[in-house]
Symmetry: C2
Subunit: 296 residues, 2 copies
């Protein structure tokens, strides 16, 4: 057995960036004190989910990811203090006019292990991300840490089996998905349950197909749209699924929570020996996956 403790930081966000950030830091600190080996934030944990409308002013929320970045310095200190790996989701300003939805991974010595930039960018009512985020160009990433090989994907990526597979093929033991997903109040009654179930199902599918753990970290709370037109009720329910696709822990739908589970990494290999999908893949027949669609 190789057991490690993983904590997911699920909270609400207001317009007060400082307050959001301090809340997340204090939850990370609590998880660290509680012995978490790996801690992951929700998507864009410092800010409200500003993509509900397209407004240039929100580009001011983006930050350079470098050694002068205060957030990263603070996360680095937390990582070192608690000997924990931290996965955090930030709005990255890469260059003037070039922005990404980015995850940073901090090692237990406080060093920046690297970045992942969201590859699949949504654009739907209240989720206008194509306006803000340039699609990632770093490829799919796995970070080797003391405790586990960590795969990082972000929110909309979670609907794409290709992303999970490529991350697993780089050796991910756990794939983390910082997320911001919720219900539009006008849709919730009719479609809410099926929307949630689809989200859970597709990720359980990734866990099974790839024989690894999946951890989704979602925010909670209602955030009104800045234009006064409806808003999003984030559905929380951050979870960890094991390689059989079973949820071993699941957070509240509407409460701030540190969701923690002890997970046994040794079952990944046991599982894959019994279910040898990587042995039986047919990569010689997958070339057409690099196409958009197959017209027949």
């Amino acid at each position: 057995m190789k057991k490690i403790k993983v904590s997911l930081i699920q909270h609400s966000c207001s317009d007060d960036i400082k307050e959001n950030t301090e809340k997340a830091f204090s939850m990370i600190e609590e998880a660290g004190k509680n012995g978490a080996h790996i801690i992951c934030t929700q998507e864009l944990f410092k800010t409200p989910y500003f993509c509900q409308i397209e407004d240039w002013k929100y580009f001011n929320l983006a930050e350079k990811i470098d050694e002068k970045n205060e957030t990263i310095k603070n996360l680095s200190t937390l990582a070192k203090d608690y000997q924990t790996v931290i996965i955090a989701s930030l709005f990255e300003k890469r260059a003037k006019g070039l922005y990404h939805n980015t995850v940073v991974v901090l090692n237990i010595d406080g060093s920046l292990s690297g970045l992942y930039r969201k590859m699949h960018i949504p654009d739907d009512p209240h989720f206008y991300e194509k306006f803000y985020f340039t699609p990632g160009d770093l490829g799919y990433k796995v970070f080797k840490t003391k405790y586990a090989n960590i795969g990082t994907l972000i929110c909309w990526d979670q609907w794409f089996p290709e992303a999970a597979r490529l991350t697993a093929m780089k050796g991910a033991d756990i794939i983390f998905y910082p997320t911001a997903i919720g219900w539009l109040p006008e849709e919730k009654e009719e479609y809410g349950a099926s929307q949630y179930n689809a989200w859970e199902s597709v990720q359980k599918g990734h866990a099974v197909a790839n024989g690894c753990y999946i951890a989704a970290v979602n925010r909670v709370g209602f955030e009104p749209s800045p234009d006064g037109n409806s808003g999003i009720e984030f559905w929380g329910q951050s979870f960890i699924a094991n390689p059989s696709g079973e949820l071993i822990v699941k957070g509240s739908q509407d409460k701030e929570q540190i969701i923690t589970a002890e997970i046994d990494l040794s079952i990944i290999e046991e599982n894959r020996i019994v279910w040898p999908f990587f042995r039986d893949r047919r990569p010689d027949t997958y070339h057409d996956l690099t196409k958009r669609w197959l017209d027949i």
Copy 2:
């Protein structure tokens, strides 16, 4: 709305090939009389699941798939009589010493629409398929029929997101998986529930990720291993999942059944407009899926 009726033929098999075949034909006939537009058999519906041991004698069960094949002639008559599309799973003898696990699709005019040969071949205790079946070389297939575009995959294929994706990318409205999966009695108590759940989860995941229907058709009954060493309790529970990954119908775990559902094909497009995964795939970043593994 574009509603069609789909029937899945779930039954047990004995060593008596004639009896199995007649049982399946009579169930197909009943489904046809009941107005099914598309009918699908379980995997290798004519025979017991002979892959529990490796024995050369079982190659005698294979049959040439041509205009003289009696099974296909009979299926063709049924298809024409009931104006139904039939998907049937057969042990194909392609040439001397070359065998496949193959699906045939019969059109409503009785013509053979084409074949699909199982691409992913398992090999595990009691499932020694690599001994019998050469991996398919026809690629992923979709058959345009009067009622729907039918994708065909077979059993072990169901664990591979690549196969479902490529079939969906050819326009499948419904992906059918004739299947033979069950519990080894010595494992059932400890692992049975999680094995079944993984099977259901990964296929619900395909339905969500691809915004199409998934139909899995499994056999029932206990088949002892011919070497006297244990056997397989086939777990039935043939199901149809909708594009949100919800099971709209599910068969018994141990009874022979015609599992029928009326499905609305129009929700495929509605669903994909709301969940535009095909719009947002990143085929420019998927090339490494054509590799076995990514060593980092």
